[in-house]
Symmetry: D2
Subunit: 265 residues, 4 copies
């Protein structure tokens, strides 16, 4: 899948990195510079934030777009932002590059249909309690409107475990591979909720055969307005990139080979 | 909570009954007549249906409202219908009595805010993987806009079990009672997914102290366009009503008493 | 099923009550007196306790049997105790009346086989993550050895929820009824983990059609050596008994009727 | 941890491979030869099998030990077998090298204590619904008896998902690393239940930092008496070994480094 001059689902690992939310121009620029230097082609950053509590920080809203527009120009990064409602899609079409549909919206059918009428690629996160069938049928809501550029994102499911925020279900990657042509990436940040687990699970995500990663990075995680506990520092992120690239070098030919075998089997 | 001349959360058991979806005038009238005769004050029926697959029956849409309007007039029933998107809320305000927010929309925050700006009561179903905190904070999104008439509806959560569609978590009723003033009802139809379980679980819902029930009834379950497997026939429904009223007679004084004890404790 | 002059699975509600663990002669006698006065026919009390930590109170062991033997004689109660290992079965056969197999042991196959070679009834608790099929096949391990007197006990399963220790899956009662002749009882104490929920869930268990209840009672819950948070006081327990008997009066004819309907359907 | 001349938890990846159950001399020899050639140091094979149904194949029992003894001598492999009951431990001590405690027995406390009185290392599988705390406290039951040679094995937990037999919770590996010195290995065979997923999840297990793998291999998976659907053929297994060794070369220095960082942090 081609997004301008970047690809998702090809031989190159697609890296989407950035802060949970755009908080200020300084924060966004510091992070964007760091992730671009370590080789990300996509910049993530919430302009509108889906928060469990109505009293928590809800994102900068349209003001965030001014910052995003500058970043896009300054660093040549593709902008990935979550649309929470139909009216957001038009703004992402104007200022961004990829429409993200979050886990809580995976079955917001009118939003899926609206994204399906867009020309932009759609990153569809798995719902917290979604089966693969439900996830793929949510993708079908988008494709039924004519937009076939859907990227799936495994971000963990809710289980009884308590050592992580969600349980990252990496088996969904080979399972999806077997029944769908859509690219799949892994989000180890939401999938674990703890910075110290992001690096090992990102490595595992690449080793299991994902087409890319979505990772939260913050220049000062301890000051983040949301999800600071799971954000990597720029230097941890740079180290992570070195590790996953080395694993990708090992698994890329393997992954292609095993895909062929799967198709034959 | 007062809904015209009917109440939810008082001494009377609030019964919301009707088909999963409005399919035709004949079907809707047959069911409405049956549930009214057995004492329901509220008629449920989907006009827009949230379906996992884009290729499944999606509801009659606005045409369904003509049928609903006739039923409201003919039987004096209060109309409860699910709003899937913000534009639906206005139509329910014009033609209906209670706005239902479905499990898949429990964290559709813009929809919650729109319902919060309505004068109508809002029935908020628990999400499939929602903790009580998340459920109550979703209610808070509605109340933060000024609409305090929120009714919670336990409809089961997703677990590993396979003998039911969802696992009805009846412990949520006393747990909510302890930390919130909001009325809670139980939906044994979605909570089990099988008609033969609806009656025993409806009895259990009343025995655990719920303020009411939401039950799916269809005049010909085997022909239903959605959720037929969990719909009661009118005669099973009539029998169910006799049973739960008898249990309510036993538990109503008990429930009040234990609520007092809880408040004191 | 006949246990001396008491029955489980008949028209009478089978009540098994007592402390989590036998802690002392005074404690056991105080609780036994209270539960007998409120009409229990079975006295539960752990002699050996399965504890998550090796450093927690592990039960009085064989010394507990002296106390149990006195209670059995003094109050005419049937003794129900958990066997943790094969050697325990012989001691229960000598001094007790019902062998309990706990949730953690539901697939301890050699223990199941040993219980299957006993003449005593076996109370088989559902495992924390057991499907109905696995639970019934565990019962089959007992019955395959010739002991058909198996009582199933629903005690909740592990899910993502946090407001209870386990999620009591009351739908298992009608589901078991449909595919098995075995009696089923409900344990609202372990099924919730909080005393304030035990009474409403016990009412729900009887309303859903269970053949009985297993309830933890302690004369001083705040001093209990295990599971104090979920133990009822004797007076709460007496009130609970009045409530569930009243519900049973309503549901018993219903339950029988619906069982007949189920068999016909 | 030293097991004869093999190690678990060191710089070398510990590979335990073999069939689910020992079925015959021919089968066991064919598999043992294959796994030894691909570099396994440990041979797994069930002599007694914990089966959900009492009517399924239960293992060869003590006859299996003759075959195991020959394999141990012929190939120099260390023998890993599950003990289902206390009496099995003595036989493993006589003929085997590592005592496996299965997921269903994780809280079989008398079995844990018996293993704790053995000189052999104990491989402790995580229970299907076990939290990390419960798992580590089960290890504590073994260590409290004086046997500190405990190896933890992540093999998936039970969740709502349906595309795998269990959900492999790879985040448990870094989580355990952070709070325990015990080595952890991953079992992608039981963790997925499908042969086509074993290789990608084995790669992920090594990438996440596990000290080794436990993998089911069968010379004719389609004829296996148990778990055939998840067994690799010898040639798939050989390919898997090449892949995980390459990933280990990349992650080993990383793993050590991040362990150090964790200890410091």
């Amino acid at each position: 899948m081609q997004v301008g001059d970047a690809t998702i689902g090809g031989s190159e690992l697609a890296i989407i990195a950035g802060p949970c939310a755009i908080e200020s121009r300084d924060q966004a620029f510091a992070v964007a510079k760091a992730v671009q230097q370590s080789g990300a082609r996509f910049f993530r950053g919430g302009v509108w934030k889906p928060r469990t509590s109505p009293y928590a920080f809800q994102g900068l809203g349209e003001k965030g777009w001014e910052i995003m527009t500058e970043i896009r120009k300054a660093f040549g990064l593709k902008i990935v932002t979550e649309a929470l409602e139909e009216s957001h899609v038009g703004l992402i079409e104007r200022y961004g590059d990829v429409i993200q549909i979050g886990a809580r919206s995976m079955q917001n059918f009118s939003l899926l249909r609206r994204a399906g009428r867009s020309q932009l690629p759609v990153l569809l996160k798995r719902g917290m309690a979604a089966t693969l069938e439900e996830w793929l049928l949510a993708a079908e809501y988008i494709m039924a409107e004519g937009n076939y550029n859907v990227i799936l994102c495994e971000r963990g499911v809710r289980t009884f475990t308590q050592h992580t925020r969600n349980t990252l279900d990496l088996a969904s990657v080979p399972a999806i591979r077997r029944i769908s042509h859509l690219p799949v990436i892994v989000d180890p940040s939401h999938g674990t909720g703890s910075a110290y687990m992001v690096t090992p699970l990102a490595r595992a995500g690449v080793a299991v055969g994902a087409d890319g990663l979505m990772v939260e990075v913050h220049d000062h995680p301890e000051l983040a307005l949301s999800d600071g506990a799971q954000a990597l520092t720029p230097s941890d992120y740079a180290q992570l990139m070195r590790e996953v690239r080395a694993i990708r070098d090992v698994t890329a030919p393997i992954a292609n080979e095993s895909q062929v075998q799967t198709k034959v089997a």
